[in-house]
Amino acid sequence: MYLAATDPVTALVQQVVGGIASGAVYAILALALVLIYRAMDLANFAQGEMAMFSTFIAYSLITTVHLSYWVVFPLTILISFAGGVLVERVIIRPFEGNPVITLVIVTLALFNLVNGTAGAVWGYIQKPFPSPFPSRPLDFAGVFVSVDKLGVLAVCLVVLAAIFAFFRYTKVGLAMRAAALYPESSQLVGVRVSWMLALGWGLAAAVGAVAGMMIAPITFLDPNFMQPILLFAFAAAVLGGIESPVGALVGGVLVGVLLALVGTYIPGGQNLRLAFGLVVIVAVLLLRPAGLFGRAAVTRV
């Protein structure tokens, strides 16, 4: 898999391609964050942990129940969707109407709860997670790209397209957009706003589950494995303008490429990736608080 590139340009291109693939994962987790942010102005600090939990469910389905990966994948998405709806109904709903700061603390409580539960059930030892794609490299004019990276990219693009289509072309998607934008008016025309929030949490959890299953083969699986990914997803969401789904996509890819380059060309960069996530967040908030696509906030999802 790790074929030494012959010249610096090819090496650079290879890093960029790898960065785009990880960036796609950050992008879909960022999309999950944006979904909840748009619905209730809330940064969900438990998003990564929920994705981690979904990935562990997939792990158990594969290793204990011995189901095939292609059965487990949609099944995990469904379970995560139901789990997300349940979390909203049971834990978030009692705090509806509270100040956002209280809700942030609620998501942190959820963070602790999910992390501790996963640790209790699956332990803290790193586990390998299977990738559905072969790691065989493909040769594109001297640039070697492994099949699994392309697979991750493809899956993420499908997820993004599905979410866009859902909001653009379905009635429920329209109702969800309306509920986020004009809660009172939507209620008057018969949209069940509170259930739309639950649906939003379900979708975010389902999207997060895909992110978890896509990145776990690379990072290995343990209860803390999504925390760095969540930070990068936050960086991606902020860079894209935290309200914008397109921004999440662009931000995710940019952050992915940036981190790949930092990891390769800066000494110790591999360790400092998290710090660079912090730098991205602070820099964007200082220089351009609305992010790259902040203007697009007028058309709400």
Binding site: G116, G268, L274, L278, I281, P289
Partner: protein
């Protein structure tokens, strides 16, 4: 004396009892509990710092564990590399961390609410890998073993008792400092910002000045706490200052009561003893199915219950009890305001 006369009798009694208990603990408990209670003092100091930032100024911070790391490593490096006497490192650690907090608060003053939470979250996550990365300087994963602190011979105390009295002595000093900050015009400016940034600005409160100041003061407290944590354990390790530490601090403060003077005391007890006892329980039984209990689960559940049933924490409940007790004769004073959530978004 005249100031003391202004205080209600129950407060004086509680203070007296508190003092007796504090002095009694190391005399009646064993070495291990003395050590644990010394840790409580450390977290009380850290929580007083967080209380100034989050409780009084309304700036949510998930990164105070990072400030503690700066304090802890300042002390450890000074003692380990330069052989500075450990007592002298405490004020230095406080000042260094205060400066760090000021510098971090500088960009952070433009952020509020959720963005500040994001930035401080990123800060908390970055600490451990950054310390690990510069391992030639910080010893990385292995951590730094410091020479253990010994009690001065004239005091005839065991080392644990000495650390206990040292920590609580410093906690008392920091408590008085924080009390004075809160009741000064600075404290009123903090609370004005918390309650409404617009109204505070309209009343001539400089948002940037006071937010940065709150960060610096909060970091200074955290730095002192981090320094003491290093001294009490005679050891620092990057994993001591993980994201979980910052989250534990927030849990402790919310459970104790945001924006209450004695909230951090209760919070300190929670931060130290909740993990201790939840690990003692060891397993949760669901009929025949058992799970090894992890402190994080209890942390999460306790936090949710407190937020739902008592949003102003244990101190809020106590104050409400007081108000009920006094309420028969006098109108309930707004000071306690127990029914409302303490943190108001603008």
């Amino acid at each position: 004396m005249s100031r003391l006369k202004g205080l209600p009798i129950p407060v004086l009694i509680a203070a007296g009892l508190g003092a007796v208990v504090l002095f009694g603990i190391p005399l009646v408990t064993d070495t291990f509990f003395t050590f644990l209670f010394a840790n409580v003092a450390v977290y009380v100091i850290a929580l007083m710092g967080l209380n100034i930032l989050t409780g009084y100024s309304g700036q949510i911070s998930l990164g105070n564990g990072a400030f503690m790391a700066v304090g802890g490593y300042t002390t450890a490096l000074l003692v380990h590399r330069l052989h500075v006497p450990y007592l002298a490192t405490i004020p230095i650690a406080g000042l260094v961390t205060g400066l760090f907090g000021f510098l971090f608060g500088f960009p952070a003053l433009r952020l509020s609410g959720i963005y500040l939470a994001l930035a401080t979250f990123a800060l908390a996550l970055s600490v451990t890998p950054v310390i690990n990365n510069f391992d030639t300087f910080t010893e990385g994963h292995t951590g730094i073993n410091m020479k253990p602190a010994h009690a001065p011979a004239i005091l005839q105390l065991s080392d644990e008792q000495w650390l206990y009295f040292l920590s609580w002595g410093i906690a008392a000093v920091m408590f008085i400092i924080s009390w004075n900050i809160v009741r000064s015009s600075t404290g009123r400016a903090f609370m004005a910002i918390r309650d409404s940034e617009t109204a505070a600005t309209a009343s001539g409160v400089s948002l940037s000045y006071y937010k940065t100041l709150a960060f610096a003061i909060s970091a200074l407290f955290s730095g002192v706490a981090g320094a003491l944590l290093a001294i009490v354990a005679a050891y620092v390790n990057p994993d001591n200052f993980s994201l979980q530490l910052s989250l534990n601090l927030l849990v402790g403060l919310v459970v104790g009561g945001l924006g209450f003077r004695f909230g951090p005391v209760i919070g300190g007890l929670v931060v130290v003893f909740l993990p201790y006892y939840s690990e003692k329980i060891a397993t949760i039984q669901f009929s025949s199915f058992s799970l090894p209990a992890k402190p994080d689960i209890f942390n999460g559940i306790l936090l949710l219950l407190i937020l739902f049933f008592a949003p102003s924490g244990v101190m809020g409940l106590i104050m409400r009890g007081f108000a009920l007790y006094n309420g028969r004769r006098t109108a309930v004073r707004s000071r306690a305001a127990p029914a409302e959530p303490v943190l108001e978004e603008k």
